[in-house]
């Protein structure tokens, strides 16, 4: 039983340790890249802003698409779109 408990604890602790390590590494990455290196022109900044809006719209559309397709699978009528 003692050995079983030890093994169970190890099975839980290993993924937890991996997750903690990854979280710490993500924080390091965020600290390392907090400031962009290159100087962007005004035109480039506007383009990147437009790109953000475009991507937000595309992600919203993709979310809608995914929900529709999952519903179609559920009803057994998956087709194209």
């Amino acid at each position: 039983m003692n050995a079983f408990h030890k093994m169970s604890a190890a099975i839980v602790q290993i993924p937890a340790a991996v997750v903690r390590s990854l979280v710490s590494q993500v924080r390091q990455v965020n600290r390392r890249y907090v400031k962009p290196e290159i100087e962007l022109t005004g035109f480039t900044k506007v383009c990147l802003f437009v790109l953000r809006i475009y991507l937000l719209a595309m992600i919203a559309l993709m979310g809608y698409f995914l929900v529709q397709q999952v519903r179609a699978i559920g009803s057994g009528s998956l087709g194209h779109g």
């Binding site: 590494q25 390091q28 990455v29 965020n30 390392r32 890249y33 907090v34 400031k35 962009p36 290196e37 290159i38 962007l40 480039t44 383009c47 990147l48 790109l51 475009y54 991507l55 595309m58 992600i59 559309l61 993709m62 809608y64 698409f65 995914l66 529709q68 397709q69 999952v70 179609a72 699978i73 057994g76 998956l78 194209h80 779109g81």
Partner: protein, 446 residues
Amino acid sequence: MQAGQTVMERTQAPPDSGMNSLARFFFGFRRSSKAMRIFFAIAGPGIIVMVADNDAGGITTYTQAGAAYKMHLLWFLILLGPVAYYVQEMTVRLGAVTKRGHAEAIFSAFGRFWGWFSLLDLVLTDWLTMITEFIGMTAAMSIFHIPPTLTIVVVWIVMGSMILSGRYWTWEKITLVFCVVNLIYIPAAFMVHPSVKDILQGSLIPHFPPGGLTNALFFMLMALFGTTIAPWMLFFQQSSVVDKGLDEKDIKFGKADTAIGAVLTVVCAVVLIIVCGTLLYNPDNPIGDAAQAAKSMMPTSRFIGTTFAIGLFDAGLLGAVCISLASSWAFGEVFGWAHSLNHKVKEAPWFYAYYFFDLLLAGAVTRLLKGPAQVLVTLFVQVIATTLLPAALVFLIVLLNDRKTMGGHTNTRWQNIANVTIVVSIVVCSTFYAITTIFPNLFAAK
């Protein structure tokens, strides 16, 4: 011979030496053979990324294009070759000059938001694309009655073995062998005795097939566009150039490598369309996917059907190899892990752990997915790629215009004009492609 001379200078004929033409020919031959040896040492990333672009999804797209439109779209494919070259060539310059992969370059230049967006989008797109590659490979092998589970396990073993050598060189040479196998379609194009007149007309004269520009044709053109340039290609080639250790002085050979790859990818695509256009042309009821095409060819010629199925498997394997590495390299660059194929597993544990995790998870999920779910993944990956490609291309152009970083390898005006035109076209086409996938009846004729 003087001290300090470069190899190229030593192999040149001395000026005004009065040498005869035979001597000049000799020196010219030595110079050329030296350049060829350097080229063969450097060639690899460009050829691999371009040939791997004809992955399982790409093979299916070309199959459908040939079956539905015969040779009428060959001209469009030929135009896409230079487009792919111009885009990929930028990654060669960026990787050789900065010695950084694309993911790290985006984080450094544009900050955390765009960095995480690009990385996570790449990982998701790559993982879903890996599943489509596994779907293609299992479908190809099922033609020979090989169970999907066995196919997946064999692929795991092959892909795992390829990268465990601890040398980038070994992995590259094995992958190039798979690239050569990808040319297996070429003999089939001669065996089907296609109409040379149709091929010439389809290749040299831009035109629409009978029926004009329908919704279905528009969708197909955009699918062809989307399959030629995929986001993972940018990340893969740049990281591969860095891992291989290419330098600024190797850029011209890297460009030649990419150009040859672009030619090969167009040749494969053209050959596929010729084979399918000749054997499977049926505009009213075109073939659904490449595996179905291979099965349909078996009654006509077992050899052609078999080579088609083997080619499909090889395409899926090549795609899976490159896509999984693109993600692993990207993660390694950003997190600061050791991330080179020249490192053994003990030296780069996180890099290899991610690679195997990605590979095993994609294979396992493929096995669990059935019919409609597989269709969903295939459709979804086509849509999700449209979110990453425009952003990755915009970042690429901005980075290539940063004179402080790129020095003499900054984009010229004409390169900017060409690349911006390509990027705008890709953004417009991919957006329309995504919208017509999500809302297929939006532009339907009433």
